[in-house]
Symmetry: C2
């Protein structure tokens, strides 16, 4: 018997039994990436967290519709003040290409990284730029309901007006008076009535490439709007679960609630789930702090903070070894411990396949199974579930050593249980390049070859540089010169 | 010296020197798939053909912007009469899921198949449903210019009117009188003035899910419109090359020319390129003829027409062994010959890396190189280029046997040349699972295991069925149960 799934709802700050709107079905919306640079550690956690939820709901028998968006327009450099350039436009200007080329490039690399992490593709992956009409329709209805105002070709959400009727800040535990106290005053230049108002539609400056016509003039949608629009388009005006990183709670998700409520007259989301953040050696990860690590760097070891490469499954296992609502601190020591733990678990999976059954079991395996599912159903407590899996690993190794025995039916049950939890629910898989030592040696050798090739190129020794690339190609490694250096992958 | 690139322009029916609009840059638009079912043989050819073009242009030093669309709305079952259901809506109805889930599923599997075939991702991959506003704007301008008419919430292109000022049918070599003669008369029920008019905007029936508001009422764009709109949006009102399968010449590309010309007052495309079709054992491929082969079936051998599995690189090589404007006939014999040829070529690539240089060369390698590039520049004549590569293979094998010698500089040049042509331009790569024999054995064994597992499941022998899946997983093969049977892949 698997206990009922209970999830922590950020909105009520309590664990609640999951009761879907429609029996047997679950609708899930998760905020996806803004695709303007390589995916980094910060992308791994929410995507693995909600992949675990998607897999567990599916395992429990729900027919899940999982929607995860791609933000390809409207995300400004300064998220709170909504000023600066659009992140994608800025990158396009720097790379001297069309904004949609930036979007395509980084969307593709995000997908590739997610495949490496064995994160399942969502059922629908809508793009903000692909839903401009739908966003304009929601602005229309918010204007019609009196919760927005137009100014010089832009449309802003009227937070104060909304707060008179509803409660702005309920998700993040803020109230408007506090927000007012903590927000700088407008300098008189702004079009907004209040600095905490936010854009639904922004007038495009003449040099802005990503623009669409509207009844308010040429412009583009505000960043928060797409999620209200695309979640309700594909999941209905009310739906089950909305997930995202804790950093999105305010202002992004708060604005989503306000938009949906102002447009529909009621909230859309029944359960809000937020994963906690990742720190690196105890510090926040930020480009400005010099501790920014992309997923490619992690998988190849090419970052000065890393003592070695860590495989995608090591990263996945590491993230699953913490509960999603706890902070996780990345360090080489912690990752190496995960690598060893994962190896032990995967070795036990192999051992399990080779065990011979006995007449009777000498150990009881039912508790492990029950405890493991109890943990998973308790707000996805993966670290506790994994701890129970390791108790089973001890039994597996004892049976192999001959100090314990398992009957044929218990053995079959163990195999089925481990396969369900390790492969299907936790989404781990055996990795091509074998154990950790091999992995490390391989990636070290490739990095050395890349560096030798760079040297040969600098010396105009094209024969050597071509030779290195060709031989790597022949043994199954593909190299690509990019302006950020050489990328490589196993073919 | 590499000769100037010459390409056959369908519009002029002559080979023309490629002269880009902007020096050093090339804009390329290719019609992508309608994503409502698994990718099949018919998708392999255009994508490999224009991948070759993209790679060769890049090799020649052009900065290429390659745009390939995804059709996710508006493609009706009967393409010519524009009747029946929307292909995606129909599949959504059959699978009982949301149309965008159909789109996502088959778009993902198309991308996966293209990666297997080593087809590079385009720089921009726009979706029809993501460009509704832009399509409405083009309809506006065609209406304004007098080449379209509205009827009951739909808008149709007025072919007769257009033909008075321009020439409808010039690409496919038709003229309107012939078309009139060969088209059935309208039955009086149609909204169209003439049966050869085509829809720019279709009014949505009440049950139609994919719909957007417009000034003509709720509806969706006609199939032909997206390509006129997205090509000019991302490549400019005039651009270099438009590619696609020969079957798209009429009506699709003819309609594209008419739309762009009616809207802009001039044509957009400078070079039209069309790949020829694939037949199977001399017959057209069609579901109704029972000779329909998906790419997954080809790669796994799971189709009764196939004597074995053929690896993605075998398929790629087979397609490149014919000129893109010739028909290609698929047969087991022809594929097996390609498999052997590819193995011989890839073995020579390995041998080349191991050769020791001599003091002086005993053979002249310059002709091979020159002939190969001459062929590629002659309208992408890949079969002739490959024939010249095989002349080099003879030399490589002779040097290995000691009957010929190559100097260090000639050897370096050979390596660089083969790497450029085989890996970069033809886009071939060494495959994970080694030679063809191994490939065949592996895929046979996996298919057998899948069949045994199916049997175990039918007998409710879950232990055996789980065991097969687990052990495959452990050795690096991932299985997935789908409603069309079991899919497997190397992880």
């Amino acid at each position: 018997m698997i206990p009922d799934l209970v999830i922590y709802n950020t909105l009520t700050r309590t664990k609640e039994k999951f009761e879907p709107l429609v029996a047997g079905r679950a609708g899930l919306y998760v905020c996806g990436p803004t695709v303007y640079s390589d995916s980094h550690l910060g992308h791994a956690r929410p995507n693995i967290t909600f992949d675990l939820l998607y897999r567990y709901l599916t395992f429990l028998g729900y027919k899940v519709r999982y929607v995860r968006n791609i933000t390809d327009v409207g995300h400004m450099e300064d998220e709170v003040e909504e000023t600066g350039e659009d992140k994608i436009s800025k990158k396009a200007r720097l790379e001297q290409i069309e904004p949609m080329e930036v979007v395509q490039k980084y969307m593709n690399s995000f997908h590739y990284n997610m495949q490496q992490l064995n994160v399942l593709a969502p059922n629908i992956e809508p793009r903000a730029s692909g839903h401009i009409i739908e966003q304009q329709l929601m602005i229309d209805s918010i204007l019609k309901n009196g919760f927005a105002y137009e100014k010089n070709g832009s449309v802003y959400f009227d937070v104060e007006k909304y707060n008179q009727q509803y409660q702005y800040g309920k998700l993040s535990g803020r109230n408007l008076d506090d927000i007012k106290t903590n927000t700088r005053q407008l300098d008189g230049q702004s079009e907004k009535k209040n600095s905490f108002d936010f854009a639904l539609w922004k007038k495009a400056a003449p040099e802005h490439i990503m623009r669409w016509p509207s009844k308010w003039g040429e412009g583009f949608p505000g960043w928060h709007l797409e999620c209200s629009v695309m979640s309700t388009k594909y999941l209905g005006e009310q739906f089950d679960i909305h997930g995202g990183g804790m950093d999105l709670t305010f202002p992004h998700h708060e604005c989503e609630i306000a938009q949906s409520t102002a447009s529909l007259g009621h909230e859309s989301v029944r359960y809000w789930m937020h994963n906690n953040m990742i720190t690196i050696d105890g510090q926040k990860m930020a480009r400005s702090l010099g501790n920014f690590i992309t997923l490619r760097e992690l998988f190849t070891g090419s970052n000065k903070l890393l003592q070695q490469a860590y495989s995608p499954m090591t990263i996945r296992f590491f993230i699953l070894q913490a509960h999603y609502r706890s902070t996780v601190d990345f360090s080489n020591e912690a990752l190496q411990a995960s690598e060893k733990g994962l190896e032990r678990l995967m070795n036990a999976m192999k051992t399990l396949e080779e065990l011979a059954p006995a007449e009777q079991s000498t150990v009881d395996i039912s508790a492990i199974k029950e405890n493991c599912f109890t943990a998973l159903s308790d707000d996805l407590n993966s670290p506790v579930a994994i701890a129970h899996l390791f108790e089973g690993v001890k039994i597996i190794n004892s049976v192999k050593a001959g100090t314990e025995k398992l009957s044929a039916s218990d053995l079959a049950e163990m195999k089925s249980f481990y396969s369900n939890v390790v492969f299907d629910i936790l989404g781990l898989r055996a990795e091509n390049i074998g154990g950790s030592a091999q992995n490390e040696v391989l990636s070290g050798a490739v990095e050395l070859l890349i560096s030798l090739r760079k040297e040969a190129k600098a010396n105009k020794d094209w024969a050597t540089s071509d030779r290195i690339r060709n031989e790597l190609n022949t043994i199954g490694i593909e190299m690509k010169d990019t302006k950020d250096g050489v990328e490589w992958k196993l073919k």
